[in-house]
Amino acid sequence: MSLATALCWSCVRCLAIALLVWPLSRLLSEAWDATRGSTRRGLLALLFVPFLFPELWVGYAYALWLIQHPVWNELLFDLLLLLKLVPAGAVVAHLSPPPPMSAQAIHCRRLAIRSDARWSSRFAVQLGCHVRGPLRAAVPAVALVFLLAFQDYELPSLMGIKSWTVWMFDAQAGARDATTALHHIGWPLACELAVLLPALAVTLSNSVQPTAMAEPVWPLTGLRSAIVWSYLVVSATLTAAIPIAITGRGMFAGFGQLFRNQSQLASLLSNIASGFVIGALAAGLTCGVAGRLLTPNPSPPWGEGKIDAAMLPRRRAGVRWLLMLPGCLGSLVVGLLVLVLFQRTPLFVVYDTPLPLVIALAAWLLPRGVLMLLLWSGIRHGAGSHLADIIHRAPSAPVAAKGIDLMWHLRHRPAWFCWMLVSYWAYLDLTSAAMLAPTGMASAPVRLYDLMHFSRTSLLSAQTCLTLLVPVVLLWIGFGVRRQVVRWLAV
């Protein structure tokens, strides 16, 4: 299969998925706004399962199931990818400011159409309204979903699906040096930029109008509620519960084998440790830069966590987007660029160190870090946070201690969650890690990925489980320790 064929397949598939994801994302974003308290927490937990559950695990579980039936295999892959990306679309829909043309404005325009107007002029008016309204609002989410689908590697690779990323990775692996693979990257890059640049233009021109009000939130009842909850349960089942069930069979026996083979276990733990440390370092860099990019300077009209170009000084907008651009192109492209940079320049002296991998992972994950910090920006930089700061500086020590606790909840906890999540994504990365990991520091996911193509055994399932869960446990322990430190400080 040629790169052109794989690229065409990828483009058509990703476009279809992006267009299908949008209405689902809108529905779930509305449900997000409409729910409160524990219902909202439950909804969000289910919503994000498909996006956060390790793709390596999903791919491993489904890899051999329909491999003999290419059409069904393709459809299953498309479905899994769609379910995985709906949460990303929902986040963007949730963060996006209301479009310049609200639903009420469109209705008012519709009421103003004369009854004797021709159908063509009616259609033109309606189309004009929708282009300025819902269609414009859809552009960032559709573009993001397209890009994420387009850059996906683990799932198509493990399921044997035609994709440009698989082609490119194999070409890179077979090439003598990365420059050869880099020569092929022009067309995929053009496809990504063709989607990214219009989306950036729309996002940058988005500015909350003084008169623009959020659309009214309707309670989640009846049919909408049934559709939303059914969708969430089905998606969580397909992307997490079934993969756990499939790999869980015989896993205990696999653990027995693993723990009996001490050298294999030690080697795996060493791979987990190196991947975890590199991921944590990259996440620290990502969150530091993302936090710096979003630092209010000096007069922030911070609102309710909506993406608004006017929210940040325009003179820094160019630098910000320039820094985020590589990350928008995906781990494979970033990995290749960093590989060439460190192979063909004086930076070669640090080529066989973790530095290139840390830089590549940080660059790739920067847009995600920024998006997550934006999601919490209303809380972290809002009036409530400032009041916590006022209490924290109270003359009375007991009141000041309460301020410390408040600031943990409002400022540090969101930042810590962001770091944990980015760490885990960095740890799970395959493409950059496979290309850039220094000798003897291959990460555990890369090691398992090499084995997953051939079979599904109880030993491999146990290794997968250990590889994917140990970092989660470590991150939660770190979170607990950090929380305890804050409590001691407060006391």
Partner: protein, 347 residues
């Protein structure tokens, strides 16, 4: 407000040529201002810069140019951020209340600034100073009709309930200075007066200073001693409330505190029969409209709005029509009635 209006000993803030940039235009433009202890109202039309000014006072934002000096509002032994430059005065300014354990300042932001992870009751207990019984929190919840919602979190509250909680939390903090941005604005008018009574009693009994941004002339007149009028990011007036109410410098400024009748010297002679070197202004309660069949003034229309009636007058002698405001005991004037205008206590 000039230094002559307030002795330096009771100043809370002094702003020197403060500018705060905005998108497209400055939100505050060269503002110089003193804010004294007591109750100060900040008024102005939407977009005038009220919220921006309050954000500077509580240091939620920093000025792009100029200086904001505070006097004891931010200084505290536990301060983590450098305090603002102190006022350059010989005597330490007096901040209401003498208890050093009190929080120096608290804020009711326009967006309420509630803490999403805390219940209604926890919002109050979190800010209660040491030594104050938790019953005080319950009493505040009762006073603001929030007791039934004590375990609810902010996302379960209506806009009005959130407004009330934000104000109740500010009172619970027992801070020496409270800065409130349009407090109780989402509360139904029938109950807002009761809640204002709670705020007023609290400020009086605890010697708390209050800075409020509001659109309501009634709130300014009932609650404030000092008033700052903002217009287009600049200070249009700063002084005492009675001055702005009774002797406003201009018709535009006068309107900030409600309807006013404004006559040029010629108009005063024509409509009132009063000779004056300058403009004559009078609030509705100082203007009497009396039936007089011999008068050339004829009522063209009359609209009664509860406390104030607006009538349009014409003159048989050919003067252009004029709209005036008055406070009738009974709404008994009808179009076609001939009347005379009488002003009491003209300045």
């Amino acid at each position: 407000m000039n230094d002559s209006d307030h002795t330096v000993s009771n100043l809370l803030w002094r702003l020197h040529d403060v500018t705060l940039r905005g998108v497209g235009r400055a939100r505050l433009d060269g503002v110089s201002l003193n804010i004294a202890s007591g109750t100060t109202a900040v008024i102005g039309y939407s977009g005038a810069g009220k919220t921006s000014l309050l954000k500077l006072l509580v240091r939620f934002e920093r000025p792009d140019a100029g200086r904001v000096e505070s006097s004891g509002v931010f200084e505290s032994p536990r301060a983590r951020i450098p305090p603002a430059p102190p006022l350059d005065v010989g005597e330490k300014p007096r901040v209401a209340g003498g208890n050093d354990a009190r929080l120096p300042l608290f804020w009711v932001p326009q967006t309420d600034g509630l803490w999403p992870h805390l219940s209604v009751f926890e919002h109050l207990t979190t800010v209660l100073p040491p030594g104050v019984n938790a019953n005080a929190a319950k009493e505040l919840l009762t006073a603001f009709d929030l007791l039934a919602l004590r375990d609810a979190r902010p996302d379960r509250l209506s806009q009005g309930e959130r407004s009330r909680l934000a104000v109740a939390r500010a009172l619970a903090s027992h801070a020496k200075v409270l800065v409130m941005d349009e407090p109780l604005v989402h509360v139904d008018p029938a109950r807002a007066g009761t809640y204002w009574n709670v705020v007023r009693d609290h400020c009086r009994t605890t010697a708390t200073s209050l800075v409020i941004a509001t659109h309501s002339p009634e709130v300014v007149l009932r609650e404030a001693e000092h008033v700052v009028c903002l217009s287009g990011g600049c200070v249009a007036f700063a002084g005492d409330v009675p001055t702005l109410y009774d002797r406003p410098p201009s018709r535009e400024l006068a309107r900030f505190l409600g309807p006013i009748n404004w006559f040029t010297p010629d108009e005063a002679t024509w409509w009132l029969g009063v000779t004056s070197a300058g403009d004559v202004s009078c609030r509705p309660e100082r203007l009497s409209v009396v039936r007089d069949d011999a008068s050339p003034l004829v009522i063209r229309s009359s609209r009664f709005a509860g406390s104030v009636a607006e009538i349009e007058l014409s003159d048989d002698r050919g003067a252009p029509p004029m709209t005036i405001f008055h406070r009738p005991a009974i709404d008994d004037l009808r179009p076609g009635d001939r009347v005379t205008l009488r002003v009491s206590d003209v300045d």
